[in-house]
């Protein structure tokens, strides 16, 4: 097993790639009662067209399959539902689907190995029938409608749609009532067999464990399955431009919601190595905080004028086929926030960053990374999500010192481009 140690947070990761292609990461947390296990596949809502290993023909599936599959994995041939079995053990079990991965997990204090038996069993044994697939359509239908009532989700999705022409990140992860109606058991098996191969998966375990013993526990529970070949993922070509700058939707909300998006160039990201990707991400986090963070001049002014009421959410999201910045919140005047934001970006471009402010924000970002290591849940999810981006989470702690003011200024000019910005608003009719 490979051991990676980080002296800043005083944590170690034990990593091994097994013969069947599965990557396992174990992060010991001596003294913690809480234990966490998460098993993820590099398969999310983006994968709607692909050529399965060993095949020539391309497969096209309806939107929402990855999420549908996640729901259906719990159903077992013996008539039980694994979620019930896990809950009966007193563990907290769940699963989720994102754009680029799907994950199955549980957290517990007791009965870890019994729960591990169940989790590893159900993820390796799909059981889909016409009947159980049909029944799930009612439940997921209500999940789709629940999101319809979330203005936060709408304002986000509209911003994404304003930025991207073709990229499947445009598609709602849960699909629509119409697309999920086309899902049947054959489609589910096809996707399962393609993407739930150990070579496309990673497992993270965090808690008070001995890594050498734990890796044996994992191996013991794996069924005999060989690593399959390469999955050819087919994505439409995405132009560099945005679709349109402004989009608005009417919904019953008290104060308008807004999301400002800045589309980044994926083609440039593809040429970055791992440490450059991390550095760029850190620089963007620092920049966003300098421009509109809690201690910024812009935040102070917008707050003072009653235009915003809280610090906006700031994030940079990226995967192999998309990359963008999102700034979101509620505002009495989203247009004004947008105009002032653009203005402030230009000010920073012209005048450069202030060294003292830069260093203070960098210290803050460092602290925020350290805090991620408090909780076994946060640690496990972070290592899993970063893994699918080709990143080891420790890299953020190691690279932060090499992010200089000059480097951040370069990223500012490169990424914060006016013709790549969009504004999405949800407000009352």
């Amino acid at each position: 097993m490979q051991v990676i140690e980080n002296l800043k947070v005083k944590e170690k990761v034990y990593k091994e790639k097994l013969d069947n292609g599965l990557t396992v990461m174990i992060i010991p947390k001596p003294g913690m009662n809480k234990k966490y296990m998460i098993w993820g596949t590099h398969y999310g809502s983006l994968e709607n067209e692909f050529i399965a290993p060993g095949e020539e023909e391309k497969t096209v599936v309806p939107n929402g399959v990855a999420h549908f599959l996640e729901h259906k994995m719990f159903e077992q041939e013996n008539g039980t539902n694994s979620l019930d079995v896990l809950t009966a053990l007193g563990v907290e079990a769940n699963a989720y689907t994102t754009n680029d991965h799907t994950a199955y997990l549980f957290e517990c204090t007791d009965n870890f190995y019994e729960a591990m038996d169940e989790l590893m069993d159900y993820v390796q044994h799909p059981y889909f029938t016409d009947e159980n697939v049909e029944k799930e359509k009612g439940i997921i239908g209500q999940e789709i409608k629940m999101y319809d009532d979330y203005p936060e989700w709408k304002v986000y999705l509209n911003a994404i749609n304003a930025m991207y022409h073709e990229c499947p990140i445009k598609i709602d992860i849960v699909g629509t009532i119409e697309t999920i109606s086309k899902i049947d058991k054959d489609i589910l098996y096809k996707c399962y067999n393609t993407f739930y191969n150990p070579s496309n998966m990673v497992m993270v375990i965090c808690g008070d464990f001995n890594p050498d013993d734990m890796i044996e526990e994992v191996k013991k529970r794996l069924i005999d399955k060989k690593a399959n070949g390469e999955i050819k993922r087919i994505y439409p070509k995405e132009p560099e431009t945005i679709v349109k700058e402004k989009v608005e939707q009417k919904l019953e909300v008290s104060t308008p919601l807004y999301t400002i998006g800045i589309k980044d160039l994926v083609s440039e990201n593809c040429n970055l190595n791992k440490s450059e990707t991390v550095k760029k991400h850190i620089a963007i986090e620092i920049l966003l905080n300098l421009i509109i963070g809690r201690s910024s001049r812009l935040f102070k002014d917008l707050y003072k004028d009653g235009i915003i009421f809280a610090q906006p959410g700031l994030s940079y999201e990226f995967a192999n086929i998309y990359a963008h910045i999102l700034i979101d919140g509620q505002s009495s005047d989203p247009e004004k926030v947008y105009a002032e934001f653009k203005n402030e970006v230009n000010n920073f471009k012209e005048n450069g960053l202030n060294q003292k402010d830069f260093e203070r924000i960098r210290k803050m970002i460092y602290g925020s990374y350290v805090k991620e290591y408090n909780d076994v849940t946060d640690i496990s999810r972070m290592f899993l999500a970063d893994y699918f981006k080709g990143i080891n989470s420790f890299d953020y702690l190691d690279e932060i010192e090499s992010v200089t003011k000059e480097y951040a200024e370069q990223i500012l000019r490169q990424v914060f481009k006016e013709d790549k910005m969009v504004l999405s608003i949800v407000k009352n009719s």
Binding site: N33, T87, N111, Q142, T255, R294, Y303, G367, D375
Partner: protein
Amino acid sequence: MQYSQKEIKKGIKVHKIDTDKFKTNLIAVFLTTRLTRENVTKNAMISTILRRGSKNMTSQEEISKQMEEMYGASFDCGLDKTGDNQILKFYIENVNDDFIPEHEENMLKNAIQKLLEIVFNPYIENGEFKKEYIDQEKNNIKQKIEGKIDNKARYALNRCIEEMYKNEPFGLFKFGYIEDLEKIDGKNLYEYYKKLIKECKIDIFVSGILPENIEEIIEQNENISNLEDRNPDYIMPSILDRKTNQKENIVNESMDVTQGKLVLGLDISLENENQKYETLLYNNILGGTANSKLFQNVREKANLAYVASSSYSRQKNNIFINCGIEIANYDKALDIVKKQIEDMKKGDFSEEDIKNAKKGIISTINLIDDEQDTAITYYFGQELSEHKIEPDEYKQKIEKIQKEDIVKIANSVSINTIYFLKD
């Protein structure tokens, strides 16, 4: 983890949670006061005006800069309604010295000093809160009050509570009322603040790798030494606190929603404190987990919902059932929900269900140690209960519960209000 508490003055306690499991220290100050229509909006204003500046950090920007300088110490405030009390909560979480590149200063001491200053020594101009800050925060609270419609599921729950507790403190909205905001100015709010600080219950929590003399550090802080003894003005919840509604109150409301939100408010009549633990088990079996009757029957068997669950509000002895359903399926869903309540009364659940529910609850008790804020919440919850118990005793109480105890609870349950939000 080791917990201890010390009453440093009458009505003011320091709670110490010694633990080396975390990278951070968490410091919290809770101000507890009686929830009243008269003061609810003022308390909401206090909780936000204090963020705006203190004696030595005179603006929000200055506070933020100081926090950033401390490797991103995070300062946060909250406002809770717990039973018939309103709680103003203030937190600072800071990275422990062991995980900072060069430790130049004692971060914990610094963080404590800053938090106490923010809460007990606000920025005052000419004997009042700064007018500019007051105006902005009134605007801020107004937005929060109007914002109660934004999350439809939460709105439906709040409305159900409001209907059940008309003209009672627990029915109040925690951020208050717009018409009361108008009457607030920097002067009367500062007068109110001084009275609040003089009379409220004060609890100060420190969790992390702590020096031995932590209580002294806090006691000797000038902002604390200035405080006086008090008989705190708050309400200890009582099990006698029960509602009796002879008839189900049915409320339908329309809004721009795609999905209907069904909320049922249930009353539980308890005879003794131990029954609170039994109610916890009852709720777990009824709708607390994926194995529960509601999840299994409304979601898995009838496929009517994605969300179908219940939660227990122990201060007021209510259970709230939540389901997100197709609007046309109202009758069908309500019948199934009611049947689950009836089946519980008949004792239609197994020993296996009880065993599983116990495991689930005990597991959450075992987690108290592993999450700094959970430990603080737990010990503060004990502070507001007449019978204080340590986690181990809590577990024993859960273990001892028998089926007949749960059936007894089930038979004391009655539906108070059925609330439905539709289009």
